[in-house]
């Protein structure tokens, strides 16, 4: 058949497959029908163009046909991510599953030799996170076919973290151990980012992609944890009903193994569904951006009326670290889905209000805390939260300045994005300082 007709058929087919209710197989079926009819019509003496017009009209208006398909296949209007296959192409689920199983086995293997979590909490606290993140990094390195040099470079921070955290003589129940573990987690997560970008961690675009990945990963972990919680609850209940106490097995094997596997599977899920399902984190960010802005402005107003924002300073710094982290997350994830060339909109103005309110409140908190530290002396906890607070404060001041410039049309929007992603190495450096230097500075207390 002539190329002109082929092009018309291809275009007709493209219109058809655009509809979510029409699957590629349906399009094949309808195309075979159209071609059969075309053959019959041209055999009867019509020109190919005439035949196409008649045959396409006989199949029906694409809107109507698609609507009829949608009535029969309403499930197709929901984008589906089927485990293990997507359009028949392998998507690496096998590798991910193998990594997840290995991660789970590694985490539970000490328990199988009688070295369970119960009674050996410090060992698990220090080593669980690096082990799990090593498997996440490994999976990403396999998926990206990372070079041997990059893999070696990725291994260094893991080895250093595990070695330092195991060698340090931490005091039992001291705060430096908890700080080291927490900041080791941040540090190694940023190493995951290097694996995610396959070594291109200097580029703003790759950093932003990793920020998106992080958000989706957290959402998927939360969803898996929800399902896992239901499963564990039902398991415990069912075993209790038949008179078996499964609590120890669940605590030592099921929970740690499950969490380790989930971290790896969540990594694969984010990758597999990236182009299939809408990202959820930006939606959450847009939902909570106005609410959080209201919360912070009310807080500032209350502070002005009471002439005191700080009130009781106990634990306030840590609380405000969390507030600032949420503000930065809202800014980041609102940015992450923004059309970079769009003119200033209401979200940009809201972000200015949100960030400005956060800076005002935090400035009061910082001043009060500096006074308190001068009075009562420094501790590891105070120093860590103060340092983070200062880093975030600087970040937000820069953000608000760049946002205002953008609103006035003096700079492009991606300046904010570049400023935000330029903080990833700062977070990395600060996490390294707290994880490795703080225990020594504060004599492992």
């Amino acid at each position: 058949m002539s190329t002109g007709i082929e092009a018309q058929i291809a275009q007709w087919r493209a219109f058809l497959t655009e509809r979510p209710a029409v699957s590629p197989a349906d399009a094949d079926e309808l195309e075979a029908h159209l071609r059969d009819h075309l053959d019959a019509l041209t055999a009867a003496g019509l020109s190919p163009d005439e035949a196409f017009l008649v045959a396409a009209r006989r199949v029906g208006a694409i809107d109507d046909v698609a609507k009829e398909f949608a009535r029969e296949h309403s499930e197709r209007l929901w984008k589906q991510l089927v485990l293990g296959q997507h359009d028949g192409q392998p998507n690496g689920f096998g590798t991910a599953l193998a990594c997840a199983v290995l991660a789970a086995l590694t985490i539970v293997s000490p328990a199988l030799f009688g070295f369970g979590m119960t009674g050996n909490e410090p060992f698990y606290t220090v080593n669980a996170v690096p082990v799990v993140l090593a498997f996440v990094t490994g999976l990403l390195a396999i998926r990206r076919s990372a070079s041997p040099r990059l893999i070696a470079a990725l291994a260094v921070p893991f080895v250093v973290t595990v070695a330092a955290l195991n060698a340090y003589p931490f005091e039992d129940g001291g705060s430096t151990q908890a700080l080291s573990v927490l900041h080791g987690l941040v540090l190694l997560w940023l190493v995951v980012g290097i694996a995610y970008s396959n070594g291109h961690w200097r580029s703003t675009r790759h950093r932003m992609d990793f920020v998106r990945f992080t958000g989706e990963w957290v959402v998927y972990m939360a969803l898996i944890a929800l399902g896992g919680g239901v499963l564990v609850g039902l398991t415990l209940g069912a075993f209790a009903a038949v008179g078996v106490d499964a609590e120890l097995a669940v605590a030592n094997v099921v929970l740690p193994g499950g969490a380790a596997g989930a971290a790896v599977i969540a990594t694969w899920l984010v990758e597999a569904k990236q182009g299939v399902i809408e990202n959820i984190t930006p939606v959450l960010a847009r939902l909570f951006l106005p609410l959080f802005t209201v919360f912070l402005t009310v807080l500032v107003a209350t502070g002005v009326v009471q002439r005191d924002v700080v009130g009781s300073p106990r634990g306030l710094l840590i609380l405000f670290d969390l507030v600032l982290l949420v503000v930065i997350a809202l800014v980041l994830y609102t940015l992450s889905s923004r059309d970079r060339l769009a003119p200033p909109g209401w979200t940009d103005r809201l972000m200015v209000v949100l960030v400005a309110a956060a800076i005002i409140v935090d400035t009061f908190v910082l001043a009060a805390m500096l006074g308190r530290i001068g009075e009562f002396g420094m501790s590891a906890n105070k120093a860590a939260s103060l340092g983070l607070n200062v880093v975030l404060w600087v970040n937000l001041c820069g953000t608000v300045a760049l946002l205002v410039r953008f609103l006035r049309g003096r700079s492009r929007h991606d300046a904010v994005e570049r400023w935000q992603t330029s903080f990833l190495p700062v977070y990395f450096a600060w996490a390294a300082v707290v994880a490795f230097a703080f225990p020594v500075l504060f004599s492992f207390a």
Binding site: A25, L30, A32, R35, G60, D64, H73
Partner: protein, 107 residues
């Protein structure tokens, strides 16, 4: 004379099942057979046949498989299942009641 839309829709299932009772077939051939049997007076929008076939497949009345025809064209062939035969028998009884009633009313 063209048969009205509602009547076409109501008779679609028994007609398709009846044609498939003669042996497996595919969409275009089914429509050709309907056109031949009704002298072109049972007019369908061709595309609407496929959602119907898919519905019958979901209900278990027909089975489908892809086959390559003589001219190398891949076509989806449909075949009646035992459930489909039962459904056809049931529909046939119902339609016999309708047609016999109509013929007596109009006699």
């Amino acid at each position: 004379m063209k048969v009205g839309k509602d009547l076409v829709a109501a008779s679609a299932t028994p007609i398709v099942l009846g044609i498939l009772a003669d042996g497996e077939s595919y969409g275009y051939a089914i429509l050709q057979r309907i056109a031949a049997l009704s002298d072109g007076e049972l007019a369908w929008t061709d595309g609407m046949l496929y959602p119907l076939l898919h519905r019958l497949e979901r209900l278990g009345a027909v089975e489908s498989r892809w086959d390559v025809g003589g001219n190398g064209r891949r076509r989806k062939h449909y075949q009646l299942t035992p459930d489909g035969k039962a459904l056809l028998a049931e529909q046939r009884q119902q339609w016999q009641v309708v047609t016999s009633t109509l013929s007596q009313v109009w006699a």
